[in-house]
Symmetry: C2
Amino acid sequence: MNTADMGLSGAEGRTGGTRGQGPGGSARTDGEPPAGGWGKVGVPSTALFTDRYELTMLQAALRAGTADRACVFEVFTRRLPEGRRYGVVAGTGRVLDAVENFRFDSGVLDFLADQRIVDEPTLHRLARYRFRGDIWGYPEGEVYFPGSPIMRVEGSFADCVLLETVVLSILNHDSAVAAAASRMAVAAGDRPLIEMGARRTHELAAVAAARAAYVGGFATTSDLAAGFRYNIPTVGTSAHAFTLLHDSERDAFTAQVETLGSGTTLLVDTYDVAEAVRTAVEVAGTGLGAVRIDSGDLLLLAHRVRQQLDELGARDTKIVVTSDLDEYAIASLAAAPVDAYGVGTQLVTGSGHPTCSMVYKLVARADSAAGPDATAPLRAVSKRSMGGKTSVGGRKWAARRLDADGVAEAEVVGSGEIPDELRDRLIQVPLVRNGEIVGREPLDAARDRHRAARAGLPLSATQLSRGEPVLPTEYV
Amino acid sequence: MNTADMGLSGAEGRTGGTRGQGPGGSARTDGEPPAGGWGKVGVPSTALFTDRYELTMLQAALRAGTADRACVFEVFTRRLPEGRRYGVVAGTGRVLDAVENFRFDSGVLDFLADQRIVDEPTLHRLARYRFRGDIWGYPEGEVYFPGSPIMRVEGSFADCVLLETVVLSILNHDSAVAAAASRMAVAAGDRPLIEMGARRTHELAAVAAARAAYVGGFATTSDLAAGFRYNIPTVGTSAHAFTLLHDSERDAFTAQVETLGSGTTLLVDTYDVAEAVRTAVEVAGTGLGAVRIDSGDLLLLAHRVRQQLDELGARDTKIVVTSDLDEYAIASLAAAPVDAYGVGTQLVTGSGHPTCSMVYKLVARADSAAGPDATAPLRAVSKRSMGGKTSVGGRKWAARRLDADGVAEAEVVGSGEIPDELRDRLIQVPLVRNGEIVGREPLDAARDRHRAARAGLPLSATQLSRGEPVLPTEYV
């Protein structure tokens, strides 16, 4: 039994994607399950990343004869985090991996049976479970607003309901990190951002965070697993421990330069910064790659260190700053002679908003079964009790309306016919068709898309100060 | 290549621990690696949950001849999250799994070679890497304060430095969730808490969060993976989608009760709460297990629903409330007729503090190699530059001093000899000895320990309002 290393196997990176696609668009390098079942292959199941009630609802629907009713579920958020002007869709590619690997293998089924979580007929249904429906969604990297139908999952109730938990886990986490990354990228301008938050979050959340940060505009990561899994460029400097290990700072710098070359980055704030910079240039020469400052008044120190480096002739030696940076601290260093920012805690925790409030709601259903021969009309449904959490029923499209200058002016969401003038502004793309993944793309496509989508928003989108969503959402 | 499903395999749960220990205290059910290497077994490597600089520092230290110097690293935090009165150690058991599985298999080594991350001698060293040192630490569930040496890792620099990132990932994440859980448990008193935040965090962080919540005092989880991996009891109700799937609320309740029995929990706020409660009791009878309210004014609704249930004769039917609860909302419902709380977002995001600020610092080292024959004395080391992030050098013990009434009055941390009166109040326990895991325990032990540790603190520890750490940390 080997359930769920969602982090490091899948489609986009080393073990799959364009490098390793199997027949039929499958991204498993292993192809079909071996005789022994799914237990020992490199693509584990994602089926247990699921709240128990998804399975018991399926059992009840099977018993009532409603499990195959055609359904439309949508993922959206009722609000952006307070003060944020736009959201960033991230995790879409990971959702596709999770859908593909959502299989109930024998270990999982044994567990469900042992614990009497569902009955025999439900176990049989789960054993055969493959998502056979359709998924449309905002492509990864797109921006979103309150009410944007970020993902639409269509199929039988059985098909769709089981995916709720894992779809939300991925989109809520990854989009929160990408939104923070995007704001930091705006603040950093042309200077590269290094993701270095692995130690501040769950070890596999860290891998997803590095991926989301890359989508949001980060250049590199310190996390080797993210390099392995998603081919994100990895970088590193050194830690205070390395200096303290040696008999002197000079010994430490010498050890590092001798093996990593003068292009390396030396950490200069273990003892005295000015002395360390002098030693660093003596040891590495004026070709020293960079110095890192990890504490103190970064604005002041960056200016002093730049001046000192220039005076020593190390004019091309870069300055990397790290130390509890967020988008505001990055912006405050815009006028300082800083060449790159390393960001940890505030990135992986979404800079104050570690999750999004995306929900997965049934918005339409038919009275009869889903499938190619389905004839019963879909009817819009929605929770209607007082006290909040209501939503707009109906299967929805979304388009971004532009003004005369080509700048976005509204997020238009509708459940009826699409107005002609919006037909070429539709945002959703097909991601899964009849259970087959059709929406895979390289991670760089999402990264490029995000940059373009953000550039298409009104200028006030990139103000760091608190504000309202920069586009209104119009329902038609 | 199958790196790192840290979430669902390991020692405490289904696939290991007391149920499946192999020879020599190993928790791998698979025993030794098969002929094909680690690539296809159920216990994948954790070695890539590592920042790149850990490996390049090792390379430089190998080149300089300092990689085998005896070192002591300590995990501690300089401060608690603002306003918090105590911290909760969680993740210790997961750290032990991660240390045991920290192996560089061929897939990892190929990646490191391909990317030229380290040189050949370092690759050879990594291929042989097993942690052979000692780890001491606060046992899981203990409380901690600023400066508490939560974990102490001793061995060669090579042994210890590589573990920094993954150790911090686990402790920073899990302890943040456990601290929030503990406050919620205080607020809930004797009423059970249900963890249901999987959809609000990374899918594997969710599994660790459910585990940490259990340590902090939660009773159950909705997350099946947490049930599978850690044997935490799973529970579930149903969603609004299930009601909306059916032609009427009555049909939905009937379907659920017919297959799950009258002891089930019915969701009563899809349309009109009073009508739903009436229907629920008509369908399930007065033996209905529970109703769930997921929106609206929970205080008001709980009173109304309780009265209605009582009037209908369903005096034993419980009321479960959910809907963006945190410790303050739970406390505000203390006088309401609520029987259980379901908590999601605020739990898995640490109720405003999604990570701790634990660091992993070299505090002492020798000039010569670690090992049983080591003779060179350890010398205390610490970063000394101005501008913060300094720490106290030296290998430290910790004890909790009690007052005359047996209530904790200080966290005493020292690097010299232990005063006699504190010898039986020492907090750290051995977790790993000469590379062998010795600190495994059932998860319930950590949960029980937390309850006892919290009860031993001054009464003001459990005030929810913002305050200072309830114990001072004294360095001797």
